[in-house]
Amino acid sequence: MPIGVYVCHCGLNIAGVLDMEELRTFAERLPDVVVARDLQFSCSDIGQEQIQKDIAELKLDRVVVAACSPRLHEPTFRRAISKAGLNPYMLEMANIREQCSWVHMDQPAMATQKAKDLIRMAVAKAALLSPLEPESIPVSKDVLVVGGGVAGIAAALDLADAGLHVFLVERRPTIGGYMALLTDVFPTNDCSICVLGPKMSEVFNHPNIALITYAEILGIEGSVGNFTVTGHRRARYVDEKLCKGCINECSAVCPVEVPSEYDFGIGKRKAIFVPYPQAVPLVACVDPKACIGCARCVEACPAKAVRLDQEAETFKLNVGAIVVATGWQPFDAARKEEFGFGRYKDVVTTLQMERMLNASGPTKGEVVRPSTGQIARSIAFLQCVGSRDATVGNIYCSRICCMASLKNAQLIKEKYPDTDVTIYYIDIRAAGEGYEEFYVRAQKLGVNFVRARVSRIDQVDGDIYLIFEDTQSCEVKRIRYDMAVLSIGLEPDQNADVLGNLLGLSRRPDRFFEIAHPKMRPVEAHIDGVFIAGCASGPKEIPLSIAQGSAAAAKAIKLLHGGELELEPTSAYVDPDLCVRCKLCVDVCPQKAISVKSPAYVDEAACKGCGSCAAACPTDAIKMRLFSDKQIMAQVRAATEEKREFPLIVAFLCNWCSYGAADLAGTSRIQYPTNARNIRVMCSARVDPSFVLEALRRGADGVLIAGCRLGECHYRDGNYQALQRVNVLKEVLGKIGIDPGRVKIVWCAASEGEIYAKELREFIDELKAMGPIGSELKGVKKT
């Protein structure tokens, strides 16, 4: 296996500190190396051409470039050798700039020594590289959108317009979500259903959208590009194809009346009903819990569409991507007992107020006291009911309630200028385009604002009283109102739990679905091919939900439009002969890519190559295609072959954060001692305890493992797994008499070069205090 080594001067960036000729001659003598050259700028055209020429003339089959960080130029050199006919994965880089010459500028001799070790490690790894082919798999160009609220509608329409086929699955009998039930919406006070209704019918009529309402997802298998989804459609006891949506005929004869969930309990509906006049599809639905089976609707229906013997149907879909737009559920106001919701008639929720203000709602737009049926003359809005409240477990701000109350207060003031409308608030949060102006508008309309959080509502002789401390006047007051509106917060929809579990979506502490990165990847789930839009990932107003729906659609289009998916060949695979079916790998995999049926099986389309499974596997049955055990072990052995400084540290740095931090320390020219020999791994969880033991056995004085900061792992919780393994390992070391302090695990973000240097300096001091490896064993008597 002829290896070529290229040591880069990088102008004076490297050559200004390190002895290039010494490095070149050192490299030349390493096993399997047939040529070693020093190049002025290896990344330049001239440099690349030299490498390509050698590949052709000397029949090199692997290349080592000792230059800058692989995070910078690995793609460049991969392209270069692949143009010369080599497999692009037959390249290894030694980072002698960011992690050597730039950080040891005043100790050139020691830095050259370190660079030699780094080159030796790279050559040792290069000898074990094997060609990898990025595999392409055909993908389905169909997309499943779960949830037909405004976010799901936005996603479905964008996907369908781009030519992808969409299955829109909705739990309720109609799409439209909560937005369809609202009256006017902020900040422009336009009628909600007037802007949403056309979008709902567009979904219904779009040739690329198959609408599946009144349905649930029951099973999801497969991975990105090829999900198999099963579900069932509940029986609505009405033939969707025959029903004309005339509604009056059937519901007029229905003798059963129950509270309507679409009016949040303040209006009524029949046992056979259409949720609201703009429902899509406009098809009646029989509520089996309310229906007494009198069949009068069957006779009354002019289209003969009612089918009381209808049964649930199952369906099966094959899709390439899934958009989760499952939305939210309102906070149950009855949980705040001190406000008397459910006991006092005149205490209502925001959603009930929305329905009252809605011209097609149960009161035809009149705001009436539920206890008397009279127009309400004084109305209080109580903010933060079920939000910003640790007593109900919801610390978060629900984000839209301030604006919703400002809007409802305006609507009431416009309709009844003499009504006393007061908003009780902790902080008014009106952060959004046009929102502060909207607040000002409410003030100008004469809405009162009291900075107080109401502590209790009392009912005396049928009237309700609010008890609160006006925190600006410092007075505790008790004031009577005709009506109190509880501004209830948003909670994650419990009905989405099934879907979340099927997909393996993680949840934040606030119980909403977690996105892949809180800033950089706002609509992606941790699972490839799964996108999250709208309130499923936290409370959001309408414009943002729509933006996220469209963003999720764009991400899905980007993923699937080519019809095939190129897989990074960095994945794990299983040697079935070694697998003992312990399922440890299933538990540690953040991607849920591993299943154990007979032996374990890694779905390589879903695998992201973190390597935690390989570290966890007790029989080493799981192997990595890149960063294999053998390659890393070879690096460890090369690093400890010659011990020319004390303390000698073998450091494992995760690719995403701590390797980046070490690079940043270089670009910021932060100086630190030369003791560490760095090994790049994809995740700190990749570090198999056997690597650490081998390093110590071969004479390393300490082993450093560095990962992303806790909670910021690029594989969700890999660093926690690493921490757990290190803790166990320390215990074992302690038992055999080795100082557990020789293994250290630290966290640094890619922006924390200074912290990386500081941690390393501290570790060096600690190891100096301990003495060389094995010195602690001298006191142990031989038995």
Partner: protein, 185 residues
């Protein structure tokens, strides 16, 4: 403008030591107070208090030691814990009150309500219960301004037999004493 090293202080008269003591005694979560007033509005004796419980927390967080300790509010708390049950931030306002009481007592700060509470608990410790006349008598020595009001009430109570003249004692006073000592530790 703040001088270097004072960046985390709220004002120049902030007694950082006092603030830290309160946080240690009542819990660090007190820092997360949003001044919503739920505690004050839940308090059954709020109408007698000045400052309110909410404002007391603010005073503690601002390190205003004198204002926080020299008031009647802390002595009017009945420990009903409604504030603590309802606080949306999970703070224990009652613990702040207790911390202030402890500090006031340690520092020997006298207010009429502090004096009343001390006489009250002294009688319990010695006799196992309180007796109206000795309690009132001893309190009026500390707070003579209350004389007229007390006499008016006394005259109303006397004919109804509600005002005991002597010192009443209970059995098992040793037991009570022991309990009080145990609590005082």
């Amino acid at each position: 403008m703040l001088l270097p090293g004072e960046g985390n202080k709220m004002s120049f008269d902030l007694d950082e030591g006092f603030r830290q003591t309160i946080l240690r005694m009542a819990g660090g979560e007190v820092q997360t107070c949003i001044q919503c007033g739920t505690c004050s509005a839940s308090c059954p004796t709020a109408h007698l208090m000045n400052p309110s419980i909410r404002k007391l927390i603010k005073l503690c967080l601002e390190g205003k030691r004198d204002e926080a300790l020299m008031n009647d509010t802390i002595w009017l708390c009945t420990s009903c814990l409604l504030c603590t049950v309802r606080c949306p931030r999970g703070i224990r306002p009652k613990a702040v009150v207790s911390a202030c009481k402890d500090l006031a007592e340690k520092e020997g700060i006298k207010t009429k309500d502090a004096a009343y509470e001390q006489i009250f608990s002294k009688q319990i410790r010695e006799y196992g219960r309180i007796s109206e006349l000795p309690l009132t008598g001893e309190f009026l020595l500390v707070y003579p301004q209350g004389m007229v009001q007390s006499m008016e009430m006394g005259l109303e109570l006397m004919p109804k037999g509600k005002l005991g003249l002597g010192v009443e004692k209970i059995q098992g006073r040793d037991e009570v004493k022991r309990i009080m000592e145990e609590l005082g530790k």
